[in-house]
């Protein structure tokens, strides 16, 4: 075959270019450790997602400065949202979909993966400085695709915790009974935390310092005298660091059975009857069916 000299030179230059490209990419993988999203994870059932990672999408600490984030994508949101991680941390994201193909992409970074139902994308990311990143779904997933967004907050070390707060108190008590407000505080970090549990009810504020070991759960119970609050609705708030949980307790003259609720409403302005000591304070159920454990969730635990 007759190939012109210039064409030969061009051919050689082209081959050098191609081999050079492959070499740089290989260096990026081997030398810099930029690994690809691959097949490391087993498949899952997208309509169930009942394993312990995705039944409760969250951030978990697995080592010093090492975290895992279990994220689900569904039409048209991400869970959890926002995702909060500390600065100078190494976070491994596990992302899967409950329905169609989505993506999980941190705007302005190279953190980017497809999210395919049945498959789990695994991606390890190093975060340095505190910064807020937007998360977009960049694969068309349905008519509201453009509204699918989330946030990743990289926060300063001292502002970061993995504390779960859940506070409970009865809905209704009779005047004179004690109101027990129980704050359940879980420390999902590996290290112990020292913090303060604070209850605000009416004009009263009570607090208690607690130390919770890593992975442990602490229960603090505050007892408040309903007589001091007086009859009526009283909002209470439990605060641990930035986490709050609040609901309302109603102090009534006399607890009545089931169908008398309407009367109780009408009579809420009657005088207090301090001597009555009927034990009605424990009608709050204690079951923990609340699966939607978004942090600083404000729903009253025992309302249902």
């Amino acid at each position: 075959m007759n190939i012109h000299t210039y064409e030969k030179l061009w051919l050689i230059a082209a081959m050098v270019l191609i081999v050079g490209f492959i070499a740089t990419i290989t260096y990026g993988s081997v030398g810099l450790g930029i690994t690809m999203v691959g097949d490391q994870q087993d498949t899952v059932e997208p309509t169930e997602l009942d394993d312990e990672r995705f039944s409760d999408p969250r951030v978990a600490q697995v080592g010093e400065n090492e975290y895992e984030a279990y994220v689900t994508a569904q039409m048209f949101s991400f869970q959890p949202d926002p995702i909060e991680v500390p600065e100078d941390s190494e976070v491994t994201f596990y992302v899967t979909s409950r329905d169609v193909i989505h993506s999980f992409s941190l705007v302005g970074t190279n953190v980017n993966t497809m999210v395919i139902p049945g498959e789990v994308a695994e991606m390890t990311v190093e975060f340095d400085e505190p910064q807020d990143y937007g998360v977009v779904c960049n694969e068309y997933c349905g008519p509201n695709h453009h509204n699918m967004e989330g946030m990743v907050h990289v926060v300063p070390e001292d502002e970061f915790d993995l504390t779960e707060l859940d506070a409970e108190a009865p809905d209704e008590v009779e005047t004179g009974d004690d109101i027990d407000v129980t704050a359940t505080v879980e420390n999902r970090l590996l290290d112990p935390i020292e913090t303060t549990v604070t209850l605000e009810i009416g004009n009263e504020t009570v607090s208690e310092d607690v130390t919770i070991d890593g992975g442990e759960t602490d229960e603090t119970t505050f007892t408040v005298d309903s007589a001091q609050l007086g009859e009526g609705d009283h909002e209470w708030t439990v605060t641990v660091d930035e986490h709050t949980d609040s609901w309302t307790v109603t102090v009534v003259d006399e607890l009545e059975d089931g169908d008398a609720d309407d009367d109780a409403d009408d009579e809420s302005n009657e005088n207090t009857d301090a001597g009555d000591d009927t034990d009605g304070g424990e009608n709050g159920t204690e079951d923990e069916t609340d699966t939607d454990e978004t942090e600083s969730d404000a729903s009253g635990g025992d309302d249902e």
Partner: protein, 591 residues
């Protein structure tokens, strides 16, 4: 008496003309949808609900990426085989049959897409990639199948011509244009196996309710088995024009016939085993498979780089024949006044830029930064949207006289049109690339979010939007000029003073090319072996992991029962409603 194509092959000229007009119709509708999207995305003018954006986007993608390009391709390839073999098609009825099948397929596919604008239950707003579990109406998949079968039969037609020719010319080399047609067709046969499997085995039965579920990663992988080589299917007719027409228009000869054959053989072998590079970020495919796809992709740069050399060398040869001198001074001697030449040269220039952004996409780990961002949209508006589309429009100015026997309506308008396309695409594509680097996603109706904003490195996002809208407006204007020329030419009367139907001679002819280059069986076998290497293990692994029919899925939007009566009713109501919608849209645009 002239020596145009229509004089030599009057019957074939009709088919080629019909194919071109079909492709232009798709270009017109697709282009209209393009400007609607441009204005909607950037927020300059939104007259429809954002959910309808995706219906517009589906139509834009299918009509331009499939219908426009492939109808033009079958026209060019039919011209190329008949002209270079110097023989009519074997049976003109067969030729019309595959053309008719392609038209029917397009119409059947378009019905459910356009039904997406109506209240009917029928819809196929699943975009050009139709990733499951998003589900389109069965008619959408069925129409695509018919269309692809039409292209297969077109390939049979070209092969028949070649076989018949070979009987009469047993010792001759395959003429270069026919060689290009045959290698491209073989590549297409291998490539379309992927989409045929995806649709016939999985998506169509699933949309009909015959199977419960599909494996989304499997159908997606099969789509990209086809989805990358289809890119070369669009590109090959453009390459052919650069090889066989551009040197002629430049006033010279093709630099090297053997190297042209090498390039097309490389495309035959390397086009298919690369599709996984669209899935670099897919979970469930091992890194090793991605690396293999990347290596193949990088070697695919070789034929394009060789083409760049040959095209420029051929142009220089032409310029020197025309009296050009000097290191770069010869550039001045090229026929820039000729829209056919200027359009192809500008398209080639843009393709060089597209090559650079393509190398970024191909880089496995650099791809993280740009995958599914607006960057990618910028990239393929340079490739299919300019290298291919602008070349097609430019050569249309040469082909129209050939297939109609009428002189071009206006060469000046034509020159303005190709230049306008170049400038418009410069603005639009540059802003898309830059937007992608900021993380702005592709395929979204409103890339404006509540919780955060994109931070521009240079200028602002608002400026990028303005640049996109400006580019889109220029491109639309360019399209209007193009159609004015097509219509104006059709209305012209027959002319006796037209250029002859000829293509470029070669400096280094086929006798310099080793015989083995013409051994199509060998290259096809190598291509198949490479496909098996690149795909069998990934496919097996995907099936092993997720099952042939995948996990339980929720079908979206709905599964549609298929009574004949129901089909009839929806079809009729859809056609009428689609007409109304089209009028509304046109009214909306002009208001």
């Amino acid at each position: 008496m002239t020596n145009t194509y229509i004089e030599s092959f009057p019957a074939e000229a009709k088919v080629v003309r019909a194919a071109f007009y079909s492709s232009f119709l798709a270009l017109a509708i697709g282009g209209l949808f393009g400007i609607i999207q441009t204005l909607h995305r950037t927020g300059y003018y939104r007259f429809m609900d954002s959910a309808d954006y995706y219906t517009v986007l589906t139509a834009h993608g299918v009509l331009l990426a499939i219908t426009f390009t492939i109808f033009f391709l079958v026209g060019v390839f039919t011209w190329a085989t008949t002209t270079s073999l110097d023989r009519p098609v074997e049976d003109i009825r067969f030729t019309w049959a595959w053309y008719g099948l392609m038209v029917l397929g397009t119409v059947l596919t378009a019905i459910p897409i356009f039904a997406g604008f109506t209240d009917s239950e029928m819809s196929a707003s699943v975009l050009f990639t139709f990733y499951a579990p998003l589900q389109g109406h069965p008619l959408f998949y069925f129409g695509l199948v018919l269309f692809v079968v039409g292209t297969w039969l077109a390939g049979v037609d070209w092969f028949r011509s070649w076989w018949a020719w070979k009987q009469e010319h047993p010792d001759e080399r395959i003429p270069l244009p026919t060689f290009m047609v045959l290698t491209t067709t073989l590549m297409w046969y291998i490539a379309t196996l992927g989409v045929a499997a995806a649709i016939l085995l999985f998506l169509l039965p699933w949309s009909l309710g015959l199977v419960e579920s599909v494996n989304p990663l499997l159908t997606r992988t099969l789509f990209w088995f086809f989805g990358h080589p289809v890119v070369y299917f669009w590109l090959m007719p453009a390459y052919m024009m650069w090889y066989v027409l551009l040197p002629k228009i430049s006033g010279g000869k093709l630099f090297s016939d053997p190297l042209a054959r090498v390039v097309f053989v490389l495309f035959l072998i390397l086009s298919v085993p690369t599709g996984i590079h669209h899935q670099y970020l897919d979970p469930g495919i091992a890194e090793g498979f991605k690396f293999i796809a990347m290596t193949n992709t990088m070697f695919l740069l070789l034929p394009s780089l060789l083409t760049a050399f040959t095209v420029v060398a051929s142009m220089e040869h032409g310029a020197r024949q025309r009296g050009g001198t000097g290191y770069l001074g010869w550039l001045k001697a090229l026929p820039w006044r000729d829209p056919v030449f200027a359009g192809m040269a500008l398209a080639g220039l843009m393709f060089a830029a597209a090559g650079f952004s393509g190398m970024i996409n191909a880089g496995m780990n650099i791809n993280y930064l740009v995958h599914n961002t607006f960057w990618v949209v910028g990239h393929f508006h340079l490739t299919v949207g300019t290298a291919v589309a602008l070349t097609f429009m430019a050569v249309t100015y040469w082909f129209l006289p050939q297939v109609t026997g009428k002189a071009l309506w206006s060469r000046s308008v034509a020159l303005g049109q190709v230049v306008l396309w170049f400038v418009g695409m410069t603005f639009m594509s540059n802003a898309m690339h830059r937007g992608g680097l900021l993380g702005i996603p592709r395929r979204t109706a409103e890339p404006q979010y509540e919780g955060f904003e994109f931070e521009a490195a240079v200028g602002s996002v608002g400026e990028l939007d303005a640049q996109i809208a400006l580019g889109g407006a220029l491109l639309t204007l360019s399209l209007v000029l193009f159609f004015a020329n097509v219509v104006g030419t059709a209305l012209n009367s027959r002319s006796d003073d037209l250029p002859a139907n000829e293509y470029a001679d070669t400096l280094s002819g086929p006798s310099d090319a080793p015989l083995v280059l013409d051994n199509l069986k060998l290259w096809t076998a190598i291509a198949i072996v490479l496909v098996i290497f690149a795909y069998s293990f990934p496919l097996l692994s995907i099936i092993e992991r997720g099952g042939l029919f995948g996990p339980e899925l929720t079908e979206l939007p709905v599964s549609i029962g298929l009574g004949l009566e129901y089909l009839w009713v929806t079809t009729v109501s859809t056609v009428t409603a689609a007409g109304e919608t089209a009028i509304t849209i046109i009214a909306g645009v002009s208001s």
